[in-house]
Amino acid sequence: MNIKIKSLNETSEKTKSYSRNKKQWLKKPDLPDTHIINTDIYTNPAIFDEEVSNIWHKVWLPICHESELPEILDYRTSSIAGNVPIVMVRGNDNKIRTFLNLCSHRNNIVVRSPAGSLKNAEPSGNSNYMTCMYHGWQFDAYGSCVEISREKAGYQDRLCKDKLGLREIKTEVGFGGMIWINMDDECGPLSEFVGNSLDLMKEQLDTEPLEIFLFQKSRVKCNYKLFFDTSREFYHDYLHFHNRQTSMVKPGYFDQEYSQFPNGHSVSGFTTVDYSSHQGSALRTLTFPGLPPNGWRHTTIFPAGAYNIRTSSLRVNVIMPISDRETLIEIRGFGLKRDTPEERALRIKDYVSVWGPFGWNLHEDLLCAQVQTQGIQKGSGAIWNIAAREEGNKVHDEVGVRAYYAEWSRLMRRSHSTENNI
């Protein structure tokens, strides 16, 4: 008898369930539009096409580092969202220029290797030039067309080299020697776009030259914004055992300011991280100029760049969407150019313990973005993402996510929280 009564009580408890039916699930959360995101913006190919035009081809993007093309006539190839192939070349005047990597003749890709030197001759062309292997047209490091095979015989005076140069793309080098490009010929200067968002790292980035020591790329099945969200909020410290042990245990961690800057950039990292509390981490002694031992600085650059200095190494993320559901994430590790071999080895050892392909944190961020993508794919039932934590602009406040989508909406001229597609 007693057992039966207990069973009835349990049933009674279950009637108090707060699970939701379909209508309740679909209902827009009772939050300001600034605090919610319709998941359609992660899955709609038409919106992705708009993003390419309104964002990716309008703002400054970090692409690679000057130390990747250190010598005159060194080159580096890459691509921009929307299938835009580019090539960066260091000219004889030591200036780095970027060009659309398409031959003026038939749009063949001109430079195919990821990196190299134009001093090495190609099978179908002279050294010192970019040679299109298809018909042997050649371009110099200034983008000028310098050779058209049998030009006069075929084109007489109807076409001439002077008007068949490569399409040049706005390029600047700055903020730690990163090479930035902007597809918009009418854009303002890079300094105007970045503003003061990297001031906190200025001493670390620009006191002396940096040098790349690690390059990693991951082609991940996720929308670029989902991975970038892992850089825009720190509430997901709970994902990372490493962060819980090295950061959240630190007195004052939750009082850390999280600041937003014009053009969608954000800054955190005014405190230090305690690596000694993570069992697998060694005590850090080597740092960057002006950075205290175990220091941490973190800046994200809209729409998808991130600078992150932890103790002895700098990580810069370059995120490039391939489509609405696939993203190329390029991650670089940096030390100081003047490092001794011993210092460099220590920086690398520190770096890879947290961030490399085998590091604790990066795998978890990538895993989460990939799994979250499964959750919000079209038809899954996902409608709303919530970014509503308000903690006075401190580190676990989701203000960084809100600021990101505010800038996204401004450039896209559309809301990120409409119900249109439900």
């Binding site: 991951s218 082609r219 994902l239 697998g280 085998f358 978890e364 895993l367 990939q370 499964q374």
Partner: protein, 166 residues
Amino acid sequence: MDQTSSQFIWPIQVFIHKGATTLNDEKWFEFLGLCDEEKFRYQVLNFSPEIRREQCWADRNYAEMKKSFELLPRHNSDHSRLTRQLNVKSIEHLDSEQQATVVSSLVIYKTHLDGVNSHIDSGSTSLYVVGEYRDQIQLDNEKIKLISRIVYLDTRQLDIGSHKIF
């Protein structure tokens, strides 16, 4: 095989394959038992044509390796199974008796579990990594110990990376 006393060839091959089996079975501490506690160093290296230099993606000594194994259950990970297939390519003595360099070709397959959509993808297998083991081993009449292992990768895209060593 070259320059190796024939008496060592078979034990060395058994030893190298045993290491792969313990890793495949995720018997991490059993693998550690094959490594020299004082000298062991584990590295993952590759040459990047993008930055035109050799780079290091992991660098751990015995103690750090042990800690990483202990911490594995405390981290969120892709739990897909990794299956290492080896072929010992060369065994070479460094000096008279005590050490040998062993190079093995390495292929790793990933059998998916929960890294993506477990309902749809779990159980499927894909080629994950191609590379080499470059091992330094200590030869002793009693035991063979792994002094160092360089996992030299041809594959440079490891999708979301791995908490598990190769």
